[in-house]
């Protein structure tokens, strides 16, 4: 191995510095994005990171790697080059640490292959990694923070029930055995608030502990979103008083708190506590007391 000249060491230091600068700028970019974003800073930091990385690579290639001049013969267009050595050996010769091996003409000029400078290689990987991570940050812009949105719906205490046509539902207008899809007033068509209103008789319903008074006059309401994969539980079989999800055939027993009796669903459909307000309309006592629909990791 030949002695590294002073000029060479100076170049190495400058390249190292540029790579560090690139890394810092990339991390800065990530921080700027995470703290809300700012267009001038984003552009300047991204530009700095790219420019420093670009300069480092160019300087490395120009000053620290064999730059010739090498001579290549030009053939007439009809002839072709003979097959070169396997790629694996080529790559090893040009980039690996085996700069003293055969075929490494670099040694004669006192310049080694890329792998001779492990410190710079590490800095390069770091800088490229930081830039890559910073470039991933904007993915976050694709959607809002889920937060608690999956835990609640638009049902509030006193929300009146409206049908898909936007009509209020009066207590008693639904006959025993009847079923209606309802939404909270002012939130018609909202996917997670869709609810099934079913009319049974008081004697039929098995009231679960803590749910006394949730089904005034035999009006019982369950979330229409299947607890399996989220399809609307659309089919009510009056004879058996079971709800069937047409997507994957989960069956829910309406009498027994919409307990799943068959199929892939594991949880009962959440029940919405109802009341009859002073004007005789059906309304909710409040939101569902558990997250509706299919399971998710954060669900307790």
């Amino acid at each position: 191995m030949t002695e590294t000249s002073r000029a060479e060491r100076r170049t190495e230091r400058a390249i190292a510095l540029a790579l560090v600068l690139s890394t810092v700028a990339a991390l800065g970019l990530a921080v700027v994005y995470a703290t809300g974003g700012q267009v001038q800073l984003e552009g300047a930091l991204l530009g700095t990171s790219l420019a420093a990385l670009g300069w480092a690579l160019a300087a490395w290639g120009k000053h620290l790697l064999p730059s010739g001049p090498f001579v290549q013969q030009r053939h007439g267009m009809a002839e072709t080059d003979p097959d070169p050595a396997p790629v694996s050996r080529l790559v090893d010769e040009r980039t690996g640490e085996a700069s003293s091996g055969p075929g490494a003409g670099a040694d004669t000029e006192g310049l080694g292959a890329v792998g001779r400078r492990p410190f710079l290689v590490k800095l390069l990987v770091g800088a490229a990694g930081a830039l890559g991570v910073a470039a991933l940050f904007p993915v976050r812009s694709l959607g809002p923070d889920p937060g608690r949105t999956l835990f609640r719906t638009s049902w509030r205490a006193g929300s009146r029930l409206v049908t898909e046509e936007g009509r209020l539902v009066r207590a008693g207008e639904l006959e025993v055995g009847g079923v209606l899809t309802v939404f909270p007033e002012g939130h018609m068509g909202e996917a997670d608030a869709q609810t099934l209103l079913i009319r049974a008789t008081d004697d039929d319903l098995q009231t679960r502990p803590g749910r006394a008074g949730w089904a005034p006059g035999g009006h019982v309401a369950y979330s229409k979103v299947c607890t399996h994969a989220g399809c609307p539980v659309g089919l009510y079989q009056v004879a058996t008083r079971q709800l069937l999800c047409p997507c994957h055939q989960s069956l829910f027993d309406v009498i027994d708190g919409a307990r799943p009796v068959f199929g892939p669903a594991t949880r009962s459909l959440p029940q919405l506590a109802l009341l009859i307000d002073d004007d005789g309309y059906l309304a909710a006592q409040g939101d569902y007391d558990e997250p509706i629909g299919p399971g998710f990791w954060e669900r307790p």
Binding site: H75, A229, P246, C247, P264, P294, W297, E298
Partner: protein, 472 residues
């Protein structure tokens, strides 16, 4: 004139060496080698018809009231995506045939890929040196499935909207980051308003570009490694026997492109597919019975139906039931598929050299048995996706049917594997002579002879007296 033109290009590009090799490239002839070509040509057709559709489709969820040519839906509120699909179907000339050809081409594309993968699997064409191309090919299968799903979700009809709802639930079920994955993909809580425009970009730009790139790699590697072939007279590990690219193979193959296109054109014109006007626009609270996806997603839907109701709750978290059939099953399935060449080589040690001669499936009872068993598993899942339709058609209870599917899923694949294994063993233990059945021939005088035992035969199997060819 043509001679001079060729000379001109020769002097400028110097491609004569390459072109000579290319024109002389030998392609073995076997019907099963055309399956990949079917996929390639279906993809070309997808590009052509797809470009046409993009001129008319509006990937927007903005609500509009329909006033178009299809009377039953007039006055109905719907998204622009749905409305523009109706318009390009009913009002754009040639729109309907283009859309149906596009859909049929997708169905054929996936079918051809699946059968092609089967061919490569059962003949051992994935063995060294073709492991990379196996992985590229499997990636193409995954991308094609994803793009098919993205494509048929675009019209925002009731059926595909239900499919998206299920896809959203599957995304939610991913442990740790599921809610984030779902929100970043859909742009918020279902049905967030950006999913259609995002699927559009995914469907017409991102996935097709990836498919095109990998397709190029697939063919380049095939070109470089040369085609495999079945053993036979003159065929060895170190040669390829078949027809040359130019002129015979090129003409046959181009002709084949037109034949594949013809089938898809017939289907597109004569066989209705995905009649979204019958499903209606998507409403989150509506659903129709018989909600089935396109055939290649059927196994996933079937898995969602038959999987038992397991939901794990521990440490204040939930692992949703959908996770097992919706995330774990596909991960394991594709993991095994991608890894098969390496798994098999661990046992057979067939990575010591290059293997260019194909196996007959009967020569490899274990591989063929496993492959057949796995196929039966996914066929049962596919059938299970039609449980509600089957229950209606055959007038049986849907719950009983699903229980039967659960049992079949566990019982049938081992049986299929064993039977296939035995059959391969039996077939493999017989030599070709013994396999050939005896042919009984009636002589002009009214007697019967077993062909081959007779005298006076030329010895080449052809009886010159009555022109009966001996069966082999």
């Amino acid at each position: 004139m043509i001679k001079r033109l060729n000379r001109w290009f020769d002097d400028r590009l110097g491609a004569s060496g390459f072109v000579r090799t290319a024109l002389n490239k030998v392609f073995p002839d076997h019907w099963s080698f055309m399956l990949g070509e079917v996929a390639l040509y279906a993809f070309l057709l997808l590009l052509l018809t797809g470009i046409y559709l993009t001129f008319f489709f509006e990937p927007s969820l903005k609500e509009v009231v329909y006033h178009g040519a299809y009377r039953p839906l007039r006055g109905v509120e719907m998204s622009q995506a749905y409305e523009s699909t109706l318009r390009l179907s009913f009002e754009v000339r040639a729109g309907m045939v283009m859309r149906q050809m596009h859909h049929w081409a997708a169905i054929v594309f996936l079918a051809a890929i699946v059968v092609h993968v089967g061919r490569v699997f059962f003949t051992g064409a994935f063995r060294r040196p073709r492991e990379i191309n196996w992985i590229v090919g499997c990636s193409l299968l995954v991308l094609a499935m994803a793009n098919g799903f993205a494509g048929y979700s675009l019209p925002d009809d009731q059926l595909s909207g239900t499919g998206l709802r299920i896809a959203y639930s599957i995304a939610l079920s991913i442990p740790l980051g599921g809610t984030w994955v779902a929100y970043l993909l859909f742009g918020g809580e279902f049905p967030a308003d950006s999913i259609i425009s995002r699927l559009f970009v995914i469907h017409v730009l991102i996935l097709p570009a990836l498919i095109l790139g990998l397709l190029g790699a697939h063919m380049a590697i095939l070109w470089r490694q040369k085609h495999t072939q079945f053993a036979g007279p003159g065929k060895a590990e170190d040669n390829v026997v078949g027809s040359r690219l130019w002129p015979s193979y090129a003409l046959k193959s181009t002709g084949f492109f037109f034949l594949v296109s013809a089938v898809i054109a017939f289907l597109g014109g004569l066989a209705q597919v995905n009649p979204i006007w019958l499903y209606g626009p998507f409403r989150a609270a509506d659903v129709s019975a018989a909600s089935q996806p396109d055939w290649y997603v059927g196994w996933l839907d079937g898995a969602l139906r038959v999987f038992p109701p397991w939901e794990i709750r521990a440490f204040g978290h939930t692992v949703p039931g959908v996770f097992f059939p919706g995330v774990l099953l596909p991960t394991v399935s594709f993991g095994l598929l991608f890894g098969w060449p390496f798994i098999e080589a661990r046992f057979t040690r067939e990575n010591d050299r290059e293997y260019h001669l194909l196996n007959r499936p009967r020569e490899r009872p274990v591989r063929t048995g496993i492959g057949a068993g796995v196929i039966s598993f996914y066929v049962i899942l596919f059938l299970a996706a039609g449980s509600d339709v089957l229950a209606t058609v055959f007038d049986v209870s849907v719950t009983g049917l699903l229980v039967a599917f659960r049992v079949a899923l566990l019982a049938v694949p081992p049986v299929v594997t064993y039977v296939t294994y035995r059959l391969c063993k039996e077939a493999g233990s017989l030599s070709d002579e013994e396999v050939a059945p005896p042919v009984v021939v009636r002589t002009p005088s009214g007697g019967y002879l077993v062909e081959g035992e007779r005298h006076g035969n030329g010895g080449d199997g052809v009886d010159r007296a009555d022109g009966i060819r001996e069966k082999r």
